[in-house]
Symmetry: C4
């Protein structure tokens, strides 16, 4: 038997990502994948942080300034991270099991991301082998999101494979020593379909069937700051610390060798009741003070939100759920459509704000904080 | 074939403009013009700015002061701009294609506006020739909203005709180098009806069928500050810069020769997520410091909002959508009814606040900012 | 023919006044008096001020303090104004035409108010003669709300009759030179039923049928500050100025001889978009500085609101709509029930806050302002 | 005849306490105990304080900090009060008549609480004798909530029995000299079922049938500060003062000998319109300054709220309604399930915030106050 899911490959006509999110939920429900949709869409607890990740962007309003000269050129959104050239500041966050939404799984995501001029972060919990992901899109840059296990051999196996297959950086999550209580999953008694194996993990010779890191509400193994140096040494790659939510933690991460700070609350999936990432960003940007790049995720549904996060100090903006909606409806072409949609909205926001480059957003864009 | 639309001429009985807006939407839907109604009513993106343009007026509350002497006289609302006498501080913003809502198109609007003692701003995208507009109401003062095109001959043709037909000022929009993403229009796949030509544009000998400035989501040509002087020289008319949203931009516009500042976010139709005009007004009024007149638009549905904008530093208040509702239901008489409604509400607000002239509003009216 | 309305006399069982308000509206609708209910319940414009008069009380939270000693006694709510002893700080605001809701009209209201140990303010637009009102409850103290007319003879006639019938004070409204635009009344094309005459006005020999002050949306005659002294001289009675909404106006009123300040926006019936009376109170209390008593109205539906207004500086609290609900359902007994309900709630709030007298509320009650 | 109610004993599968609350209400309605459910769920007045006790926790957001070292150990939640070892900082508030929801009444609650490593506060209005409660779970620590009566003999009788049966502390409520106006109860004409006697009170030889303290909306007898010393002397037990809502009252209570401060507004059941306990906590914690332990109740439905209250200065967190939901569905096992649920949520919040002990929460947890 196998997990039955969409395999269409087509470009999407998207109004906006809220709209696409609704359609995704309906489509998954209609194909008996309601629990999988809940796993992807849901957040921890009362989903306060999930909601505020999105709505808190409204605490900041854009102030367009258009009287500073004639805009002869179209805007450009090219940028860089670790010497990788990107056509857009919008990249793809790690998320587990892309096979849940489309036959092509991570092979579709990396191709669609690459065609959009962006890069993807592959999860430890991918349904495809790193080798297959890499070889299917050999020119596509990608990051590897590494979940540390109690079993050091497994950790070494995964890191070694990531390096071998050409990962450009290692992304290590720090979310405390537990899993988020996602109540939709608890209600649904959700578990991953056994027909959708985590192929890279399963490739490990001693692959344990009840691996701790696989349990939806189990106990995980968090990284120690000192291990940053170990991972850097083992891989020779830059390491980004994902999950940073305070300026102080950002400073500590940099002191321990982090090459990049990734602000994230995993889209409200871990701890509910914490502040939104957009409201944490100013404090962190100030603490980082441009020493290393800042990746920002959680809450992004609009190009104007990308603009706001860049204006408040982020260098790259990552999205996790939306690429899955695109993948679901259109395979790699759908992923490209999703990235293109945000890109179009971002560019539109830039031009209508009197701004034509990503650097200008960072230097000149003005936001005002509302008092609502 | 021709575009089928209402041609009634009648005075309207209006409760308030919110009410009229609802009726307008229903009436347009019933006559199969739902897409046209969406084009008129809609805003960019999530319509955050469209909504906040209206609701942010509630951030300011009026504080009536009635103990300063006996009010023997009725209030008066007469005012002036560029030596044009007006019976009301409420004028009409430019908007495209009045033929969408009523047979008489801009001929109805200018007549109705004039009968209300006000003035109209004619859009570059009018359905009627400037000559016909002027000759139909030869004594009516009007402004010309000028959209610059890449084709300089077209620009010169339009400006020359505006001067010839007696425009009192040129209104030039600065909204950045793109169009707003109005998602209702994208959903509706909206385009202007070919049976409703932009007659003044079409009168240009080399009129291109796919003129850039006509595309709903295309790329436009924004003005350069230095061109303000060029337009002034070519026309000999005062130039108002429309779309100003910061104090700094207002100062630059004045330095480059602007004769008036027109605060507008086009009713939330261009860039969503920006602050409301009422919340931008205090900063701009302070920067302008009475050197040139300030026209204010976006969000006005109530006479008390007119009062608040005047109290915060505006000199004239412009409305764009509401005159179209009036035009739709009653031709020129409907336009007069809409202006009269706001006028009645404004006068009522003045008298109940202990104020009897427009100047007194500017000098004495007290508002308090709520902390909601 | 005559206006058909309830004439029951009975004590009411009240849960709270919000509840009673709903029942009142339903009852009036069922007896074909929907327009009259709208006249009583409605406010001006969008009813923003009507709503905020009530909801802004939530900006202030009570902080009970109960550790200051044993509460041996029940609380007492007795108080005074102009040497009139009252069992409660809650009195009745003027409102027109009590005959709209009950056969007994103002005769019921004065009796019910007196039996509650309170006092009533009789409106110029009463359905009963002052003589009949007074003689029906000869021991009941009452104030007279005086609407000045262009016709000085009428004014003198009314003031003379008020003095003759034993009014204890004159209440003069200052609301600017217009009527509120109550859109429910405009929609309903509301006018007072000719079978319910304003008897005291009609008793004036030259009673004009189209008296200006009777028009729902007409032009009224506001008082001049200097006329305060005139009225005081003519009547020999203390004069309260009703409608004060700023500290500055309160100071001016006192300078011109006012013996009391009555803070009111007539329950949101005049100018919409103004601040709630509870948010105007602190500024006014500071300006008055205990020189004259402050009566407070608009928005009161709960005993805890009475408590809050007293804590913020009011001396008496007036209610206008709620006595009419009581009158409607139970004649004079219903009026007493309404006053008793607020009284019970007030006393409960006092005792649970550790406070036992009205003076203690004014001196010791602590409120905190929320930042919502 | 006897009061018919659930007697099941079973462990519960709980998603969260909001969910359980809804199920409780439905289950009680289905068994014709709607009035009893309303008595338990309801609050005073408009239930403003009831709602804000819960929602005001959202004014505070948690800021996780996870970069301070490897979390090798699971978190621990052990704590102490008056030398009683507890496995959790979550204890049970006093509430009347547990027999309303389950056959086992207080015998179930004390057993379930003890099995969760927590302690229960027994109400003066228990349906079971203190002797039976104690003997049914002889090792369970418990506090006695003492309601003082006008009749000193009754008071002495109750205190003596509490000491005899091994109470560890006396909890004395100070809520002012009245009962809360719980409008659900007034509407329902609620009274306690005569088949569910308050056995301990009834054991008093002169037990009066119409005892004042039993009336739902009667007049109660509040404690005098000086009586704290009397109770301490009579019982030899520590005394906690419950109902403190200001820093000043906390200081006074300590000065009069209180051994602990219990912040509570009885879940919004007494005076409506007062501030939430979570917003009162910072001021009180500052005033107490760690001199005596602080127990906090009112509004707790989530482990993250427990975390927030501890972070703001509370030592123990008490819950009153939720144990009754658990008792209703599963007897003593249900009570344990409810405490375990909050415990799981608390531990999850700790681990995901980078915190592993209760003391660390108090010393290191960081909250930010939102400006919503």
């Amino acid at each position: 038997m196998s997990y039955s899911i969409n395999s269409a490959e087509k470009k999407l006509s998207i109004i906006n990502l809220f709209d696409l999110e609704e359609k995704f939920q309906k489509s998954m429900q209609q194909s008996n994948h309601e629990k999988e949709a809940d796993f992807i869409l849901g957040g921890a607890g009362s989903e306060y942080t999930l909601r505020h990740n999105i709505s808190d962007f409204d605490d900041w309003e854009i102030v367009p300034s258009v009287m500073h000269g004639l805009c002869e050129d179209d805007g450009v959104t090219t940028t860089k991270i670790f010497d990788i050239d990107l056509k857009t500041p919008i990249i793809v966050s790690p998320s587990a099991a892309h096979g849940l939404v489309h036959k092509s799984a991570e092979l579709g995501t990396i191709k669609g991301t690459f065609n959009a001029g962006s890069l993807m972060t592959v999860s430890t919990f991918s349904n495809e082998l790193l080798k297959d992901i890499h070889e299917s899109s050999p020119n596509a840059p990608w990051f590897y999101q590494f979940s540390m296990d109690q079993n050091e051999k497994l950790s070494d196996f995964l890191l070694h494979e990531a390096v071998t297959q050409g990962a450009k950086a290692i992304v290590v999550g720090v979310f405390g020593a537990s899993f988020g209580r996602r109540e939709r999953d608890i209600r649904n008694n959700f578990d991953f379909d056994p027909d959708l194996p985590f192929r890279q993990l399963a490739a490990f010779p001693d692959y344990p069937k009840n691996l701790d890191i696989l349990k939806v509400n189990g106990r995980t193994r968090d990284i120690s700051p000192k291990e940053i140096a170990v991972i850097k040494k083992k891989t020779g790659l830059p390491v980004l610390i994902k999950g940073i939510q305070t300026g102080e933690d950002a400073i500590r991460a940099i002191e321990f060798g982090a090459d990049g700070i990734w602000i994230s609350n995993t889209g409200g999936r871990q701890l509910d009741g914490i502040r939104s990432t957009i409201n944490a960003l100013p404090e962190i940007a100030k603490a980082v003070n441009k020493r290393v790049p800042i990746v920002f995720d959680s809450g992004i549904r609009r190009g104007q939100q990308v603009f706001k996060a860049l204006a408040l100090g982020a260098d790259l903006i990552a999205i996790g759920r939306a690429p899955l909606y695109g993948l679901h409806f259109g395979g790699h072409k759908g992923v490209t459509s999703v990235l293109a949609q945000l890109q179009v909205e971002l560019l539109n926001t830039m031009l209508l704000s009197g701004i034509t480059t990503i650097d200008e957003i960072k230097q000149n864009a003005r936001l005002v904080r509302t008092n609502r």
